[in-house]
Each structure stands twice: as structure tokens, then as C-alpha cells.
Symmetry: C2
Subunit: 418 residues, 2 copies
Amino acid sequence: MDIKSYMDKIGRQARAASRSMARADTAAKNRALEAISKAIEREADSLVEANAKDLEGAKARNLDAAMIDRLTLSRKSIASMSEGLLQIASLADPVGEISDLKYRPTGIQVGRMRVPLGVIGIIYEARPNVTADAAGLCLKSGNAAILRGGSEALHCNQAIARLVHEGLRAAGLPEAAVQVVETADRAAVGELITMKDHVDVIVPRGGKGLIERISREATIPVIKHLHGVCHVYIDDDADHVKALKVADNAKTQRYGTCNTMETLLVAAGIAESILPPLCAIYVEKGVELRGDEAARKIFPKMNEATEEDWKTEYLAPILSIRVVGGLDEAMDHIALYGSQHTDAIVTEDYSKARRFLREVDSSSVMVNASTRFADGFEYGLGAEIGISTDKLHARGPVGLEGLTSQKFIVLGDGQVRT
Amino acid sequence: MDIKSYMDKIGRQARAASRSMARADTAAKNRALEAISKAIEREADSLVEANAKDLEGAKARNLDAAMIDRLTLSRKSIASMSEGLLQIASLADPVGEISDLKYRPTGIQVGRMRVPLGVIGIIYEARPNVTADAAGLCLKSGNAAILRGGSEALHCNQAIARLVHEGLRAAGLPEAAVQVVETADRAAVGELITMKDHVDVIVPRGGKGLIERISREATIPVIKHLHGVCHVYIDDDADHVKALKVADNAKTQRYGTCNTMETLLVAAGIAESILPPLCAIYVEKGVELRGDEAARKIFPKMNEATEEDWKTEYLAPILSIRVVGGLDEAMDHIALYGSQHTDAIVTEDYSKARRFLREVDSSSVMVNASTRFADGFEYGLGAEIGISTDKLHARGPVGLEGLTSQKFIVLGDGQVRT
């Protein structure tokens, strides 16, 4: 297969479909989402079958257990894919929303209208549920999608794509609105991330290696999530009970997620009273602690933290702990070592809370709440296509709104400029 | 000079200054703007002197008349630079603005806070007034700026930079918040647009060649304005008087601006009645007309338009004219040949106006108004750093808000995720 012309054709079809999708009415988009949801429920058996083929292939290729876990499509995950699409249908349509429409002294009215981005390329690994989720989000936000899943999930992704097409047809929308790249050739990714004329934005979902490679090579804007080195800072003026709850939950509720705390910062004035009970909780839960000198003096059952620890996203039951002089030292540490993902302060002091919220430059900044809340569902976005650690366009969880932008609209009665 | 380490030093200083600027209070930023404005007024003589040196150099290098015109700093342009800074001071501070703060079922409050982008690199040619304008906009929006003007304006840019630094000092803000690159070596641009760790966004201002080169080579996001192939579509249901006024003004009010109409589309049903009087106006004003066959049948004093004409931004008294079947054909033409900058419909038909507004995918879409209105001042943004023809982040005129983005903030009372 000539990958270049294959991808070019996909790109052209997506661009054409994106014009229909941009003007598709809300009812048609919801009908498609509901039809896809139903088809997925109906075809649960054949999806499990397709997935079995992928799993066989994965075992033959000796893929690791974590990969096989992500690749596995259970009855439960099929039901939640189907349910997720209905949830997307129930969300308000962001497309066409007009805001800030105001009269200007010249008599024209100027406002903003929310519009789709156009064609979105999504590159992901393993998890076949991304195929349905991403298709649903792009569809509802009036975009066309080109989906490039991992070669290990090809059978399953193709089976889901067929059901997506069935739903689009049922609603009178173009099938090319959602296309799955049907080749395992990696050159297809190289084409996808450089087809400037056909693709408006790339959303990579997967490990840091994949995302770094794509950001390096893409000539199209990328909405990306790099990594989460998240902090909780327990201030001198923290409430003890809240500090214990938040710091415990931020680390131990789940170890492998990007919004899990990796470094705990504790003000010197509260370290002696808070660290012993808090560290006891961590130790009991099997969390390995790595502290600076001051922390180890207070709680000796701790390994020594190195410079490398402050920069590390463990994604594991390991926590680095540092005692700091106060708010400024804590914010300096976060600015130097953090990844601008999610950082929280625990304090009862109004002015310090206000400064932390303003000055910490992360996609989510919290007061007296667990970093684990940084999530599209928890934020009320309804669903998320990913979390952005970029500063332009969208920061933090990216939902339907992040797949749109705003154009200006001007209404007049024949006004001209003088 | 070792350009790499020189630029690296500038980048580090900018990054450090950006943290101070992000937390600078509104009063301090306004004090700086007012002090710079005053200093520019006071030093008008020395600015004219510095400009004279640049002009001498430009003449020695045989730069063309248009370039020398853009380079020239008159008393009037100095006064308007000074006045522009006061206008920026009078705008509301976008930084820290909180919106959509809502309680979630978990008890946390989730909202968004507007924050600076960080460090903004601005690359421009000739016009020394950009130095003061861009510095003012970046300062007010809480960003640090690295300004790289053309080598032909170096004396003048450095003189303005000294006054900017004086104003920053007077307000207790770091001088490194606005740095002017003081080398004519083009390698400095190459460094600036690839210093990912130190620079968050690049705004190029200048000719298409400059902008294309920078977008191609930058590894940092670019907010760019490529070109404006703007259309006015006169619908069958247009009011004749409005159509004449809008189509005249859109073309002839100024020829060299990006929001000037380059192609006129006319519905077949109104062409016979509107083209003769309209074309007479153009001919009287010295506009060269290039039409398709149908247009030339109605108004024979027209050259033949070629395929190339539909794609061309003339920036000159030339207009291409095409007769179309109706709204759909007009929108197809705009989608195929337009540059997604600014497009207008003239119609009294409610449903066609509504469709045009929704379906035309340009940064500004207008009904019964001249395309010449697409401008930050006309839109009430107060000032603009440029016009974006990109789809991500900001579309159309980019003012203070376009130099910021929104982070999530979460307020709680010790809530944790379950």
C-alpha cells in the first residue's frame, strides 16, 4: 500500500466531512451517538470476538501484562463505552454558541461564536474504548476525526469503527466523519502529523515516549499531556484533619494516575506535628517514603531523596517529602520541579490561599482538595479527550469545549468603516 | 558574540521575570505603562535622532521606499505610541479573572482563572512603534516579552527599550520583563523560536515570507496571521443601497490591509442590477476589475479572471468578481479559495444570514457590514498584537485576552476523591 496516498485520501475525505459536521444540527448528532451506543450494546459478542483475535496476536508478540490488560475489552467495558456515548449525547451542544454580542459605537454588533476546530487526528495505544470515546466527542463537537489506534488493537478498532459508521449513516451524517486508519504501518502516523492541509490538531494519548515523539515531529498543533509531577503543600496554617485526608487521598487513592501527588511539601512550622501521623498512614499502605534531611529527622523510616526524586513522576507507591520554610519556598519548589499539571495547598489562611491560587502556574490549582479531582468528569465537563499540560488553547481536562474555538461574528445594517 | 548563550541568557531572564509579572498587581502594571508613556513623550527628540540614524543606514543599504516609510518615526507616530500605552493602561486587567465558579456534587467549587501565557517572543520588521505597543500589551497581560525587531530599526528599538526599562523600574517591576534582542545576527531568531524551555509562544509580525519561515522552523507554538483573501457575497435578497456601500467600502477604503475584500461574489439573480452601478464606482476609483464570463457579460470593461485570481491577496486596487448561483455556491467558493480571514454576506434574508454566520469557517464572519471592521480597536478589544488566522487558541484580532489562557481552580474544605 502506498501510505502517503492512502493517508492523503483519508485526509481529503475528513476535510470534506468536517464541513458537513460543522453545520450538522444537534438532533442529528445526538441521533448518531444514540445509534452507535445501541449498536455497540447489540454487537457486544462480536466485539469480544474481535478483541480475542487482538489478544491472541498480543500474546504471540509477547506484549507485557499491563499492555494486555489495557487491550482487553470486557463486557463491562463494552457497556461503559455504550453508556459513555449516551452521556455525550446528553451534553449541551457547544457548536454555534454565541457570547459577548455587544453593540459598538459604529452601530455594528460584535460577538463570538463557538465553532469546531475541523479535523482532529487522535493517536493512541492499546485501549480500544478510546475509539468510541474519541469518536463520540469529536462528533458532538462538530469535528471530523481520524483515529490511529495501536496495531495491537486493530481488529477491535475496526469492529467499533463499523458500528460508528452504522450510527452516522442512520443519522444521515457522512461516514468519513470518523475514519480509522486501517494499516499497522507506522509511516501512517508520520503522514497524519504533517498533513497540514487536512488536519487541524493532533491529540496523542499514551505514554510519555509516544507523546514526546509526536510533539517533536508534528508540524500541526498538538494538544498534549506530558506528565504529572503533582504537589500537595501543607501550610503552617493547615487544619490537621484536612491535611491528613487530602495528603493521604492525593497519594494513595490510585498510584498510577497523572493527578496523583508525587511530592509532599510541608511547612517547617507544622512538620513535627503532621509528618508522624501522616507518614504512619503511608507506611501502613506500603508507600515508600523518600525525604530530605529535615523530614528524615522527624520520621526516620524514610530513604534519602535525591535531586532526581523531585523531578520524578513515580506512578507508583513512592512519595518524596520535603520540609520548606513556608509558602514562598513551596511555590519556588513547584515552579522549579513541577510539571504544571495539578498542585494543591492545604491551609486555613485566606491570604496564603489567595496567593497560591494566583501564583502557581499549573493547569489545576487547588485549595484544601485532593489533586485526584483533576478530571473532566469531576469538573463537570461530562467527558474528556485528555488533559492538557500545554499553556495555549486549553489547559487541564479537555472536554467538548476544548475541541472548539471561537470566531468573531459581526452583525450590521450596511455599516462601513470611515 | 556567542548567539546561543546570549539568547539563552535572555530566555532565562525572561522566564524569571515572567513569574514576577504574573503576580504583579494591576496598579503597578498601570504605573509602568503611564511612566513609559510619559518617558516617550519627554524623549521625542532623542527618539527622532535615533530614528535618523536608522534611516541613514536604511538609505545606505538601498532599502525600498515602502520599507523606509514603515521605518520612519514622525512626531505624530511618537505621540500615538505614547497615547497607545495610556489606552492599554485604561483597559481592564485580564489576569486573575475568575469565571464559571460552580459547586460540584462532591462539594468542591470548580472554576477557571485567566493567567498569562508566560514568555512571549515577538518578531517583527521595520515599524519601531511595535516595540512600544507589544511591550505594553505583554506587560498589561502579565507576560514577559522578548522583542526582536528588524536590524534596520535597531537604534530606535534600543532607544524605546531604554524608556520601557525606565518605566518598569519606576513601578518596581523587573526590567527583564521586556527585553530587546540587541544583535542584528539572524541566528538570534533561530534560537528564539526553538527555546522551548524559555519561550511559550511566538508572535511574528510582518510579510508572508517572514511568517511562513517562522512557522516552518519554530518548535514553539506560533500565533500567526498568514494572509487575507476576504470576500463579500451579495445575495439575491440584498438591499441595493447596503450592497453598494459595503462592497465599495470593503474594497476601496484602504487597499493594502489584510481585511480588504479581494473577491466579490454576486448572486446571479441580482448581478444584472447591482454590477453596473457598483463597477462604475470601482472604475471611477481606479480599481482594476477581473471577472468571470458571466460578470464580463454584464460589465464588459473587465479583464478575464484566471484560476490564480481567486487565490490572490492583491493588497492593491484590483478586484476579482464572480457570479454565483446562490448562497451554497458562494460558500463553496469561500471554502475552496478563501484564507479563513474575514468574509461578509449582504442580504435581508434571515435564514441565509443565519446559515452564512454558522457555516463560513473564517476568523470573522459578517452580515451587512464591511470586512474592513475586522480589527481589534473596532471590535472593542482596545488594542491588538495581531490578527490570527489559526484555529487553535485565538482566531481573529488578538488583544490582551489572547495573550492569556485559563487554568482550573478548585476550592474545597478537605474534600477527597472516593
